[in-house]
């Protein structure tokens, strides 16, 4: 440390830091702080183990990210309205179980099984939407109840056990490669693009931001607030349904415990991406970064043979840091 910096009166340094954090560069740094964390993580893993940066490994990060990406996108929409969807993990299990059950029942119509799995997800999403918008039940409670019920149903479909005898063709959907990348990765990219465009280029997104930012003002501006709320839960359910089908197809397996706890990783991705749980703030770009960061950490720490319990500790610290940076940033910007 050079000595002359300490000679500057603190009032000037705070003034300088204030103007810095308010400047374009400062705002950019704060907004993209997680990109920085991501780059550091990548750098550390690359130096630590040569296997990390191999094309195969990078691809496996994307493959692992895909099912999370879909539910994190749905979660982004829900969180932007100021709500939360806890049910997505259970929806993954339920849709995987129903999809696989139909496939086993009639192996000639595997595609029908997939379609039904997706529709089951949409159905749970619709129930969530109705509970929140029509019956005005707090999102946390409404989706907690569907989390429980959907998980129970998933077990009921398999009578308490995984679905056995799934035909090998069931795995074709998620393991087929198009242009070198498996289908789920493409679906992830399409999902990011579609939801991103919907949110940032369409009036649909403007309504979501308005409802989450100030529901009363949105209502007065003629926006049908309960309709918007209904829509985001329905979409979240739909995406979770797709995610469940992809996940079970990838491993050609369907167990009622599939997807358990995934909702928390999805919420973590959205929060790390800078969204506010109070609604109205957040972007698809942020969610994408949050998602990749979590997956990169999972993968890199696995390769480095760090036990999963320590991985959880690291992820926990990361979430706290992300939210801390956000609070710090908002305070700086508003000062």
């Amino acid at each position: 440390m050079r000595t002359d910096t300490t000679a500057i009166p603190s009032s000037i340094t705070t003034e300088v830091s204030k103007t810095f954090w308010r400047s374009r560069g400062g705002v950019f740094l704060i907004r993209n702080s997680m990109v920085g964390v991501m780059l550091i993580a990548v750098l550390v893993f690359t130096l630590a183990t040569p296997r990390f940066a191999s094309p195969q490994n990078l691809q496996s990060i994307l493959i692992a990210a895909a099912p999370f990406a879909l539910i994190a996108l749905g979660q982004t929409l829900v969180i932007l309205t100021g709500g939360i969807d806890l049910s997505v993990g259970s929806v993954i299990a339920l849709s995987a179980m129903t999809s696989a059950w139909f496939a086993v029942n009639d192996p000639s119509k595997i595609w029908l099984g997939f379609a039904i799995g997706v529709l089951v997800g949409l159905a749970v999403g619709i129930v969530n939407g109705l509970l929140v918008s029509v019956f005005a039940i707090a999102p946390f409670v409404a989706t907690l109840s569907t989390l429980t019920a959907a998980s129970g149903l998933a077990y009921a479909v398999g009578k308490g056990a995984p679905i056995l005898g799934i035909p090998a063709a069931y795995g074709e959907l998620a393991n087929t490669r198009l242009g070198g990348l498996p289908v789920p990765v493409w679906l992830m990219f399409i999902g990011l693009l579609v939801i991103g465009v919907l949110l940032h280029k369409f009036a649909f997104g403007t309504r979501i931001y308005a409802v989450g930012g100030n529901a009363v003002a949105a209502e007065i501006a003629g926006i049908k607030v309960s309709r918007v709320r209904f829509q985001v839960y329905a979409i979240s359910g739909l995406l979770a349904g797709i995610s469940g089908v992809l996940l079970s197809s990838r491993v050609v397996n369907a167990a009622p415990s599939l997807g358990a706890g995934y909702e928390l990783d999805a919420i973590a991705a959205v929060v790390i991406g800078g969204a506010s749980l109070f609604g109205g703030r957040g972007t698809v770009w942020g969610t994408a970064i949050g998602l990749l960061l979590i997956q990169t950490l999972n993968n890199g720490l696995d390769i480095m043979l760090i036990p999963s319990y320590w991985q959880d500790v690291i992820k926990g610290l990361l979430i706290a840091t992300a939210v801390g940076v956000d609070v710090f940033a908002i305070r700086r910007l508003n000062r």
């Binding site: 009036a203 931001y209 007065i220 501006a221 003629g222 508003n334």
Partner: protein
């Protein structure tokens, strides 16, 4: 017993210095002076009605005494000793307690816990001494003739009872001066009577009470002294027996019209466009009818809680109506559906822009198109170029000070936020503009710009304007027609053109609003 503190106050008053001595207290918010040098003495056992119009400075004076607001200059003495200003704890310690207009009890805690909040007695083991809290609360409540079980959760009680318990709490912490800010604004008549009884009890115990009001009946009911503020100046200070209603009214009104208002033009003489017929706003409440013509500015005058906001919100569909209808150009609008009202050409600028106006977390651009999203989209796709052009044009029209259209509205000043909330409605589709307290929390400069805008909209764009305002000068300065409401009903109507003398009209309007004049409706535009 805690509430014998009042008696101590009597002995203190035997010395020469008054219980409370306010000296030359000055306060302004920005460029806006609120108190311009107030001197006031308060003696034990007095009940002082602090009267004056909205914005006269009553609440600010109370908040200064309670330590909630720090004055720019001046001092306050308590029993001859100077009070350390700006600290609620200090004010409380010296015996000054306030019951604010918006009560904030802990709703889920029982009554006794609210009374002892923050100073709970402990047992020898350090646990909360519930038994003694309940016992003491019971005694306190009984001494005020309040039949409430102290174990009742606060939530179960009426607003009026919560308020009385707040007063009981003031006594239990040993207050010798209790400040009540608009104590009757949220409670019913028989509850008001009970409040008066308790005020008299306290007076007999030697506690000094100061309450704000602008209703004549309430001044007469319990006050021993009337202090009138107007524009931050103490206009009159008399014993109740030595001042007539006439004199009180005269000193309350007569605020000067400043030159913020554009010259009044006669309305374009267009046909009526907004017609509210038999609209019932509260279940079993009165039915209200009102029409506004194209290019006409109609102001709803009245006191707090007169039902102006409710009427406008119900007409617009932001609130449920229990009967009647609202039509634009003869076409009835679907009730309780703001989007239908917007399609019909109606717009509402709500009372509190932070609650119902702007989405503070969104930028100017998106706030600017929010009510007319459909107009700027093709199959849902936002037409960026058109949006930027349109919003830039509108925000120029309202003279919004901004660095970029991408600025978050939450980062703008109050006046500029209000400009965004008004500006976003300015499209060719606008036929009827409802403005609820359009200049609340807006600085003087932005205020005059908003006035100019309102006048222009009516004159040049033939927009029908219905506005509600508690600022009497605003009502007189802008409106072609003034409709006075009390308790949800229209009680009087005045045509500005028939009353060239602003001061006389102001007095007339005020008398009707305060409920001290016979109902009156001018024939010319009666429907």
């Amino acid at each position: 017993m805690e509430h014998t503190h009042g008696k101590e106050a009597v002995t203190v008053a035997a010395t020469t210095s008054p219980l409370i001595a306010v000296r030359n207290v000055v306060k302004s918010y920005g460029d806006n002076p609120v108190l311009r040098g107030i001197d006031l003495d308060i003696e034990p056992g007095e009940v002082i009605a602090l009267a004056g119009e909205n914005g006269a400075g009553k609440s600010t004076l109370m908040k200064i005494l309670a330590g909630l607001v720090i004055p720019d200059a001046g001092e306050v003495g308590v029993s001859g000793e100077p009070l350390n200003l700006g600290s609620v704890r200090e004010s409380r310690r010296r015996g000054i307690a306030i019951v604010p207009q918006e009560l904030a009890p802990v709703l889920d805690l029982p009554v006794y816990a609210n009374i002892f909040l923050g100073r709970e007695p402990r047992t020898t083991l350090g646990a909360l001494d519930r038994k003694s809290m309940i016992r003491d609360s019971k005694e306190l409540l009984r001494s005020f003739d309040l039949h409430v079980d102290p174990r009742t959760p606060m939530r179960m009680l009426s607003t009026a009872m919560q308020q009385l318990i707040e007063i009981v709490k003031c006594i239990s912490i040993g207050a010798s001066v209790i400040l009540l800010d608009e104590p009757t604004s949220a409670i019913s008549q028989n509850e008001v009577d009970r409040l008066y009884r308790i005020i008299r009890d306290l007076r007999d115990q030697g506690v000094a009470i100061v309450y704000t009001t602008h209703k004549m009946a309430e001044i007469r009911a319990v006050a021993t002294r009337v202090v009138v503020l107007r524009d931050g100046v103490l206009i009159s200070d008399e014993a109740i027996s030595r001042i007539s209603d006439e004199q009180i009214v005269t000193s309350m009104i007569g605020r000067e019209l400043d030159d913020l208002y554009p010259a009044l033009q006669s309305p374009g003489g267009g046909e009526s466009i907004l017609s509210i017929s038999d609209l019932v706003v509260t279940p079993g409440g009165p039915a209200v009818s009102l029409t506004v013509r194209k290019g006409e500015i109609v102001a709803l005058a009245g006191l707090l809680g007169a039902g102006r906001t409710e009427l406008m919100e119900a007409a617009y569909g932001a609130r449920r109506a229990y009967g009647g209808q609202c039509a634009i150009d003869g076409r009835v609008i679907r009730s309780h559906d703001p989007s239908a009202a917007i399609r019909a050409g109606m717009a509402l600028v709500p009372e509190d822009r932070k609650v119902g106006g702007a989405v503070l977390s969104m930028n100017i651009l998106l706030n600017g198109i929010l009510p007319r999203l459909r107009r700027f989209t093709r199959f849902g796709w936002l037409n960026k170029k058109e949006i930027v052009e349109h919003v830039a044009h509108n925000m120029d029209a309202v003279r919004l000070k901004r660095t970029s259209l991408k600025q978050e509205v939450g980062h703008l000043s109050g006046g500029n936020q209000q400009k965004v909330v008004i500006g976003r409605w300015l499209t060719g589709d606008l036929k009827v503009l409802l403005l609820d307290e359009p200049t609340r929390g807006v600085d003087v400069g932005a205020r005059s710009e908003i006035y100019q805008l309102i006048t222009d909209l009516a004159r040049e764009h033939n927009v029908a304007i219905l506005m509600a305002s508690s600022d009497m000068t605003e009502v007189i300065g802008l409106a072609h027609r003034i409709v006075v409401m009390t308790q949800g009903e229209i009680v009087a109507e005045f045509d500005r053109a028939d009353h060239p003398d602003a001061e006389v009209l102001q007095e007339l309007v005020f008398r009707h609003a305060a409920g001290i004049a016979e109902p009156h409706r001018e024939s010319r535009h009666a429907n």
